[in-house]
Symmetry: C2
Subunit: 515 residues, 2 copies
Amino acid sequence: MVLRLSRHSRMAPLLISRRFQSSFLPAPPFTIKDLNESTLEAKYAVRGKIPIRADELRSEIDNNPSHGLPYDRIISANIGNPQQLDQKPLSWYRQVLSLIQYPPLISKIEKLDPSVREHLYPSDTVERARKLLKSTGSVGAYSHSQGDAGIRKSVANFIHKRDGYPSDPSDIFLTGGASAAVSYLIQVLSCSEKSGFLIPIPQYPLYTASIALNNAVPIGYFLNEEKQWSTDPEAIRDLIAENKEKGIAIKALVIINPGNPTGAILKEQDIVELVNIAAEHGIVLIADEVYQENVFHGEFISVKRVLAKLLEQDHELYKNVQLASLHSTSKGVSGECGQRGGYMELVGFTREVRDIIFKLASINLCSVVSGQALVELMINPPKEGDASYQLYHHETLTIHKDLEKRALLLYEAFTKMADVSCQKPQGAMYLFPRLDFSREAYPALYKKADEMNLTIDELYCTDLLEHTGICCVPGNGFGQAPGTAHLRTTFLPPGTEWISSWAAFHEKFVAHYKQ
Amino acid sequence: MVLRLSRHSRMAPLLISRRFQSSFLPAPPFTIKDLNESTLEAKYAVRGKIPIRADELRSEIDNNPSHGLPYDRIISANIGNPQQLDQKPLSWYRQVLSLIQYPPLISKIEKLDPSVREHLYPSDTVERARKLLKSTGSVGAYSHSQGDAGIRKSVANFIHKRDGYPSDPSDIFLTGGASAAVSYLIQVLSCSEKSGFLIPIPQYPLYTASIALNNAVPIGYFLNEEKQWSTDPEAIRDLIAENKEKGIAIKALVIINPGNPTGAILKEQDIVELVNIAAEHGIVLIADEVYQENVFHGEFISVKRVLAKLLEQDHELYKNVQLASLHSTSKGVSGECGQRGGYMELVGFTREVRDIIFKLASINLCSVVSGQALVELMINPPKEGDASYQLYHHETLTIHKDLEKRALLLYEAFTKMADVSCQKPQGAMYLFPRLDFSREAYPALYKKADEMNLTIDELYCTDLLEHTGICCVPGNGFGQAPGTAHLRTTFLPPGTEWISSWAAFHEKFVAHYKQ
């Protein structure tokens, strides 16, 4: 027996004879026309044309010292990816994760001098690693397709504590970020090209992309920019009536709260109205609540909490409401995007329907087990008195304050820019300022955009990138009211220099194009 | 600013007034009839009815000391999940992964006494962690959607070394296990309900499940059991002709080598024939090579290597062949299923087609970054002379020998069972023995199966589970020639006791049903 023959020993020559090659003619090349059309049509602007151009510029800067660009680095403001920038991971998370990746370390460090040991791993990190390992076993083993049972129980406790209403561990699915949950839900609800999904406009483009991949119909409901991007229930009801008339079966209503890309936070009354719409029309609610920890103004209220309260008040009226709520370890003060942790809670789904979602999860085997463990660490952090508490508290508070500070700085910069308006940030990681460049005031801009076959926001973001190295995403990647132009930027990049260079660019841009 | 208000402070009461609840009637409940039909039809036996029953029995054993079952544990032989059983993770992998999860540990251990330090982390693990961190940055950041560029370069080098032919890093996609790659490929190639996929029978049920989810047509080509589960190119050509006549556009030919569930290894000549078919008919080759390290007899030859050789001999004839090869950290001697690492190499795809696959990967953001790092550790292990080499060599050799031993022991047990035949294992982690229970010799068995609405293999596996606690999967979950009955079992469970209890069960089963 030779282990890994091909890697460690000389390869045996291949004995292919020529007689196999003359008996047929080759087929023509395989092209894009041979592909699934829905995969051609799906769009995902967050990693689209402008970020791809930013990658090219970045590689030019890295590989060519005499690149001649007027900047020395690319500012990635296109994606909520805090640890790509300067955000440090929380020590608590990483200490426990390192122990569960290498369990023999636990007994090895126990043999060290206590002062050395506590410096490496505070006692509660060791305890938590032990507890997690007892529940999951090796993180190298597939877990239950729905996720580890012990962690799902923890999630249910977290929800109970957060909302004041119980949650059932068998309703919890641990998923690879929230994206995997969105895919399962859209896939399972897309019955035909007449299945409709109500999504907020602007939206996070994962929704339109998933809907396109499943040949279903996106039905955008406009958020009210003037009223801090709030929802308008009457407009949603009108859309439902209108689409029902066209024969569209509306399957789900997507709520993103705190909002991406808007940074808005829904008020309790708004959520009640959305639950009422779901109850009346038999529409599944998909509550994307991944930014629930990123709150600067107002209070995050989960859709689950509102639904539970309404059920308490009138069980008959609300008993058929189905809600899927999503959370993730990628956002909040965690920012652990690359670890792919998240969960979905299904409320009010029948056992049969849940079983189908379970089957989809099974086909993907399981979500990454270290990411499942990270969910546990996020929802069940050190408590006052625990060895890790002080550091944890300090780190989370610093991140949170820092994000708030950056949000306000950037917001203030936008308020000072000519012909730009911006809603004050309440939460999440984004601003979605509007470019008020009217056709009357900016005829040369519209002429140039037409020539280049770009929209106003595309042209602005392209110019911004080329002149400053700042990469953000045109509003049309998220959807916007007709005739308006926006852009989405994160407020994650560190420092203020990039904000000044943006302001300087803007001034020149306006001076160049304004009549 | 209050951080995480809802978690740390008293919740504000919800102010829902009753006036919102009386203005509508509730919609009827949402049922399975409201779901996407293709999600109802997809089947995935590896985690299907029998494994779900095994879960129930396991929880009965755990929670009820007087359970009355004739066994005290469930033997999970249904899934290739080595670390769920007794396989220990390789120290090399886990040491590096623990360092990249908690990078401050690197400088902390450097302050320790050298003898203590080396005991915790051999020097090459620290070096590799540094190198990986330099490439990926924080594992908590999203990577490039296609995977970290440095790791993709490593993968291309590994393939070059393995096959003797170069590989291009821009053709490599790092994926969450091989499953994610299979999903992308089937999705992108499924144009309509007339898109066909040639899959081996028996197959790994991920293929039929993905094909069903995309409303495409699975076209099974039978492997030749009598000839060690080899392929029959003439039969495949006949199937192509037959299906073309029916208007089916055949999009891809799936090859699983080493075979799952058959444990067979394809010979060079067989692979040449399959490449010829692809070249002649313009069919994409999907080579699932996740068991390439699990080889006991014969030699693993990659499809890439054969194609590269053929291209060298006759470029014109083979230049349009498209091949996607898959590998994973879940199998081999790694067995790191829960870490979700893997890669796909695309050969001969046009830039345009690759861009569409890239877009699908982008919609999922990125595969888990620690899993990407694990790919690097798998393909680029310690070399002779490195601090970790001896332990790494010992651990991998032990796992490999142990798997081979278990495979042979189980194989021998099957050869001794009445009315069972089994091909000698060559690789992978499975045996796929045939139950030769003819209707003539076993009339009572067929009668009972008919009554219970089960196939012979389902009845056998159900009885095996109920009587011994051994969980394996009926052959019909993988596909089998009409009129035959098989089962798939891994040879991963430790010890020989379970094999003896299986043999004893079999004897009783035959005695009970045979005329």
